[in-house]
Symmetry: none
Subunit: 414 residues, 2 copies
Amino acid sequence: MKIEILNTGTELMLGKVVNTHGAWFGRELFKLGLRAQRQTCVPDGEAIREAIAESLTRCDVLLITGGLGPTTDDITREITAELLGLPLLLDESVVRHIEGIFAHHGRKPPPGNERQAMVPEGANVLDNPNGTAPGLHVPARPDGSSPHLFLLPGPPRELHPMFHDQVVPRLRSLLGDTALPTFLNFRIINVGESAIAEKIEQPLDALVGLGGLEVGYCARPGEVDVRLIGPSGLVATGAEIVRRAFPTEIATESEAELQEVVLDLLTARGETLSTAESCTGGLIASTLTDVPGASRAFLRGYVTYANEAKTDLLGVPPEMLAAHGAVSEPVARAMVEGCRHAAGTTHALSVTGIAGPDGGSEEKPVGTVFIGLASEGRETRVVRLRHPGDRPTVKMRTLRSALDLLRRRLQGLE
Amino acid sequence: MKIEILNTGTELMLGKVVNTHGAWFGRELFKLGLRAQRQTCVPDGEAIREAIAESLTRCDVLLITGGLGPTTDDITREITAELLGLPLLLDESVVRHIEGIFAHHGRKPPPGNERQAMVPEGANVLDNPNGTAPGLHVPARPDGSSPHLFLLPGPPRELHPMFHDQVVPRLRSLLGDTALPTFLNFRIINVGESAIAEKIEQPLDALVGLGGLEVGYCARPGEVDVRLIGPSGLVATGAEIVRRAFPTEIATESEAELQEVVLDLLTARGETLSTAESCTGGLIASTLTDVPGASRAFLRGYVTYANEAKTDLLGVPPEMLAAHGAVSEPVARAMVEGCRHAAGTTHALSVTGIAGPDGGSEEKPVGTVFIGLASEGRETRVVRLRHPGDRPTVKMRTLRSALDLLRRRLQGLE
């Protein structure tokens, strides 16, 4: 089923509002085993006509948001009726719905509101419990010369419930008996996109050649998603290839964030965590506490940016700082042990490094980081890494490396 | 000048990543007095061909992001060359750039990377200091049968500098003698978009009516940008209206981030800062340390998530926590005074609140936060705020409120 999304709204084009519709539709359609072939965004006004006209010839389902309101730049309804040659008829039930909403606030609908009650002949009205403008479903012509059109409101709080309650059931009935494809996502930490491709692209390509399997990569700093989509048998075979290539590097086979994986592991074991951060400056603590319920496992964090803070709070000896420098193996070790001791947690993570752009040297160039991991009854581990990228990227990669070090320990994959 | 934007990437279509390119390009083009007529998003693969082919006939400038990487689903370069009938030639300078990046990490480029060095005949290479894939500028055909194509990398940290440094100058020269409009940006903290519009929309509309002035708003959690663009005289008159309406709320008349403004003020005075965070979980410290050179003013942060941490590290009495709860005026006050005392800094900020989704009550609903500010020789201040939104939004608004409290103190605007 070919699906397209058309978002209308000048505010989206001017950068006033980030268009989250594309990502939201993507996730919702995926749950139905569907994907959009295209998402287009145009300003209010006549640009909408050109965009709808093109899509009519190209897809089976067109989901349109915006342009259903009462003002004169809201013309999606009129343009659709015109393009399909359908007369607009006043729908009395919609008139009463709009009057009811205004009556609720002790007012009468201002002139212009009856435009929202005009319905193209043959279209189904989609009730809008959260606003005045109803949605519309214009069924495909029986001869296949036009797709199913869904005209939907722009504001998410009106769009989302209308989609779930009234569009999804219609899409399901259009799908009929078609088998849904299988989707699998591997989140791989700390391996570059090209290094990943080098290991798995060739064997996966052989499967792609059998037809129906799709492979996608999505890279973020320190983290790459490998996605397999297709018939379940091919996806299962592909999954084995990915698992064998990265026996310890796959943080999860879901779309859970690394911090959620780590916090779930800790919570399941009734264990606790504290952090001592220098170059990441609190990013690890902040990322952990983005997860609701983080307080069950994460107890405290130290952001020891100045050397005095490392000494005061974590007991790092000043002579050690003087002898080795703050960015060094012994200091990362002293930080993490001091942190775990002071916080009384099962585990502690420490980070000290050079995030840049300044502060690098021949021996310790920008991007050099030392990550410490201390756990009750285990030997403390310190790893030295070198992360490429600018300051925020080095911070982000260091965050993921640190959390992954703990994940491996918790999963027995060291 | 008709401009279109094409974003490629299956991850954008699947909803894994919100497409922020559209909004970002919208804002950047606005500064040049330009706007995009259309933004299209398609998955990786053959859908790119159809989308580019259509745009070729429709616009003067086509900005394409994504699909320049080393993997087999990165085919934007090849499709563009094919559609325009241009042979792809190996560019030795790009080969050396890629080899240099890998050599920097003591590695050799894996096979496949040379695809990134293939350049359509006649195209200009746009250097990519932040990644392996260079951008490309394929000039318009002299007969006007194809637009200027800019092939740009998808990751924002590669895209943004390349756009500013290499695409903007080319767009300017395409614009020719058209007088460049004046652009002014006001960053206003902690005032809602509609409250801002209510104060300045009417007087600014009068100027818009004179012709040539455009007003744009861009809202993020806790922060709204008001942008004026047009002839310098009208912009100057409009700027006076904005300044008079918000005498203390404008953090900056540039696009500097609030944390940069605060750190610049501190550094100029030779003053220092420490933080004690509960519900923001280290976000304030992490945001401050995103700024290069933050260590000159920011010395340490405490992430006191558990109550014991508030007592141990900041000296908040357990009986105070029991009597008032961790989210309370006295606790915010004790946290900030304990923090400044322990850290020995000129200023300290504390935050305690309920970020949600759980933990709210009738008296202290989700979004309730107390922010404390202590400064040497000044009375400690605690403000209570109620921030709408989900957990990340509450954290972000709280971050901005806290930094803005300090900004006002430093600028004598309390």
